[in-house]
Symmetry: C2
Subunit: 450 residues, 2 copies
């Protein structure tokens, strides 16, 4: 039994009936060539026979006198965590997204380890899907996807003999230096968690830090928008893949990175979506881009050590190239600053940037410093296999909260970039339209490149 | 917009993360003879095109300054409420019960009208299923099942042309006398709801009433048992049908009603289940049997006006016939008393009997006056059809709460009695064993009758 870090506790304390704080991922796989029709059922039956479980999949939260601990589940029950499901006919992606939207809306039971893996059959094209959810108090979304990837291999045959993700777990320990830095942040966050009024003190700390390091924050101010309302308990998940080659070509021509193109596509899509609703703010939208405090992500312990960079989406600019350049300038400025920071500066920066969570906790969700979260997770660069099946898509299913009703998280792989959009179903109508708008935004950039 | 009755509000206020307070029903249907394979998909597509909705399916709760109102949902969205699902292979009842267990564990979103209807395909025998859930603040379980029955007919062809349940709704108003009686209870409950400490005052009222009417309660004391623990958020649903003819034959031989046999089967099954776990209390278990305050149930408004009768389950008696007689004696005594009460006495009785909810609210779930809830819903006496499909089973899916981790609710129909057992999955291990124990208890009674 060990005490949760205050950062991890925050995700238990911030959780509300209408605001579950787990993250997930939807993956699509092609079964091995020549698989019999019952492949998915057989795989489900095999996985259900698993008898071992590794950290962090074996532990559940325990609250004693207001303090949260992780304890091993004394009656680990795989049938609670591994679920076999099927799509109704006709088994299109549409039915799959509707199912994930519903399942992602439901809370995890805190009496059990906070995760579930669903194996989904019944796609009309014969593929199978997995949807995995895990509570943000256990890992952040990026670490969760990395843990899942540990059960995959670039070798088809080898992958078929690998254990399921819950038998592999994380298996990493943090390095002492990083652990110390994370602890510092955690201690300061702990104060905030124990009493929301400490928000003011934290802001003072932040102001002090800023006076010593004047360039710590940009002057960005997020305008009010329909993206920043109180949310309901229902989610809409939308997902689609876009060609990495096309996106890289645009980036090359316009002198930016793949991520600059990602941001520009999101900006173009949001501009179109909000314009159609008559709800585009005059001032440009501000995106919050999660950045890990673990510089050396590969060897970091799973858990939460995430802060935000702020970037303009330049949604006030009608010209796609000018918009691209404004976004790229904002991203470049942020990256340079972030790279140059030492641990102390990073700490002060993190304190300032974690205000979305604090504001949410204090109920001040109208004062959100960002309009939308856009998160880019670097994915595998080679074809990957899980249980002998080739990975065709890996779509993050992140979380939304009061004041941030839309989250766009994507995984970039060799041939395609897999976008996962999660939104409050009621606050943001027909958010699946953003999928078409993302494609339109890419075409618009391509046409500007000619 | 109209204010919720305090009784209905209680089910919103008593709801917890681990304790959702909706009720449901699982129904099994045989499609019309000669239906094509795509029957379920076609039916789902047709139902999804419904464009009208009747009270109470059109209203959602709205909280203003601590007062709850019902308001019409200004953006009623059937896609949120009507869901098409499929069972994974092999599509046994086992997979169906696992699915219902999971779906019943999830909260309804209060931003929408508090109900959902699921159409489930993929049963290996070609049948289809529906699972309907509705919040207890809208209707109690019996009224919910009655509302669903309004969309069924005893005429197969006629049923195929009937609208779905949400287009029919309730369509009833209470009679003035009953409404007044219910209001009285509601007013007193309102006080309790506004401050749990009022529990003590209510208990005093109850003691006063008892001193004037000494026979208002039995001397039953529920022993402590594993059935009466704090629950988790996960549910296990188990369901099975038993022959009405066999049960009636036992009742006739032993001089009791069908309901006496129901109670005796539950008693025998619980005795076996608890004995196997080494957890049978020395003193007999006490069942709480919900009784409607609407004497004229057929013409009552949907909503909550329910109290409890207490009955011994005589689980200390090893002999099945002696156990049967003790249970029957307890039930007869209760029924006579209940029938003889005037409205004032009924009111005092209801006040006393609603203590389970109050104790739950006050966190005193260890002092529950009952061990288990057993509820008998009279069902249709003729074969019934829904959308052209014959009804084969109608299994209530009720609710559990801290202190009452098991609820057994059943619908008696012409040829079979459909038992639905809902339990906390973690608190009560392998509760599906009770299905076999119910059959064994019936056989035990049959053998004693020979």
């Amino acid at each position: 039994m060990r005490r949760l870090s205050p950062t991890d506790v925050a995700f238990l304390l911030l959780e509300r009936r209408h605001q579950p704080l787990h993250v997930g991922a939807l993956s699509l796989f092609t079964p091995p060539a020549g698989s019999p029709p019952g492949f998915a059922s057989k795989l489900a039956a095999e996985l259900a026979e698993s008898t071992s479980v590794a950290p962090p999949f074996d532990r559940r939260p325990l609250s004693r006198l207001g303090v949260f601990y992780w304890e091993d589940d004394p009656h680990f029950d795989l049938a609670h965590h591994f679920v076999h499901m099927a799509l109704p006919k006709p088994g299109r992606i549409r039915e799959l997204l509707a199912m994930v939207s519903r399942v992602h809306s439901a809370h995890l039971d805190r009496a059990y380890p906070l995760w579930r893996v669903y194996l989904i059959e019944g796609l009309e094209d014969g593929r199978i899907a997995t949807y995995m959810k895990i509570h943000h108090s256990v890992v952040d979304g990026v670490s969760g996807i990395r843990m899942f990837m540990k059960s995959m291999s670039d070798d088809e045959l080898h992958s078929a003999g690998m254990p399921p993700p819950w038998e592999i777990g994380s298996g990493h320990r943090p390095t002492p230096v990083l652990r110390e830095a994370i602890r510092k942040v955690d201690r300061l966050r702990a104060a905030a968690i124990s009493a929301p009024r400490v928000l003011r003190e934290l802001q003072q700390t932040f102001r002090d830090a800023r006076s010593q390091h004047p360039d710590l924050v940009t002057a960005l101010r997020a305008p009010r928008s329909i993206l920043n309302q109180k949310i309901t308990a229902s989610r809409r998940f939308a997902a689609q893949s876009y060609s990495t080659a096309r996106m890289r070509a645009v980036g090359k021509t316009l002198g930016g990175t793949l991520n600059d193109v990602v941001m520009a596509m999101c900006a173009g899509a949001l501009r179109r979506y909000l314009t159609d609703l008559g709800a585009l703010p005059d001032k440009p939208l501000v995106a919050g881009v999660p950045v890990s405090l673990h510089r050396d992500r590969e060897h970091a312990e799973p858990g939460n050590a995430v802060t935000f960079m702020l970037a303009t989406l330049a949604t006030d600019l009608a010209d796609p190239v000018k918009r691209f350049e404004a976004i790229k300038g904002s991203m470049d400025y942020n990256k340079q600053r972030f790279q140059a920071m030492n641990q102390t500066e990073l700490l002060a920066y993190a304190l300032g940037m974690m205000t979305p969570g604090l504001l949410n906790m204090a109920g001040n969700w109208e004062r959100m410093p960002i309009n939308v979260v856009i998160s880019h997770v670097p994915g595998p660069r080679t074809p990957m296999f899980w249980q002998g099946c080739q990975l065709n898509g890996l779509y993050p299913v992140s979380l939304v909260m009061d004041g941030i009703a839309l989250n766009i998280t994507l995984v970039s792989r060799a041939d395609q970039v897999d976008f996962g959009l999660i939104a409050c179903r009621r606050t943001l109508p027909s958010v699946q339209r953003l999928l078409d708008h993302l494609e339109e935004a890419l075409v618009e950039l391509e046409e500007a490149c000619v």
